[in-house]
Symmetry: C2
Subunit: 124 residues, 2 copies
Amino acid sequence: MTTTDTLDPLVWDPYVRDCPTRALLDRIGDRWTVLVIGALADGPQRFSQIARRVDGVSQKMLTQTLRALEADGLVTRTQYPEIPPRVEYELTAVGHTLRDPLRALEEWAVTHMPAVLAARAARG
Amino acid sequence: MTTTDTLDPLVWDPYVRDCPTRALLDRIGDRWTVLVIGALADGPQRFSQIARRVDGVSQKMLTQTLRALEADGLVTRTQYPEIPPRVEYELTAVGHTLRDPLRALEEWAVTHMPAVLAARAARG
């Protein structure tokens, strides 16, 4: 067991107040992270391709999401020295490990949307 | 394939701009949802028990999270006619189906926290 007093980097626990896994949960559970990681699942993509796949994402939000994923080592950004320069985003090995859990979330949302809407409607 | 123009309630798709699964993803990926559903995994709990398990959650945030989960039909709130009144929160059948995907997220965060911290440190 961990407590806030004995936070041990080897015993991460998001139930503990200051554990950094809690902020990481926010990051990976974010709707844009889920969709961007999903968009990158099949291979490297340019910014414009991701933006098309994640319908309606703003340029600002997509930039912010990709930068955060880069900072966390989940996505790489590669600039190819061409004219005009080509920039591609790609999941890292660690980023790939996130694909299955996030796909499960996506599938849960799609499968249970009717039940959730029914529950909301029942409450009026 | 769905598009925003042909949004079909039978074909939910969070990659489509106005699909309600996108907002549902936000809800279920939220750190407090993940931890509260986790806290309720082993059976009904009182507010104070959940608050203790989810170390550091504010009363306001916990109330808000539980109400949202209730509204979506994922958690029930039962008040027992005792003195003092006892109130318990419990996962519904649908709420239980969310447990595995959210546990996978939790486990991902715990497992990959070191890699993410190393990536952040490497960028200085």
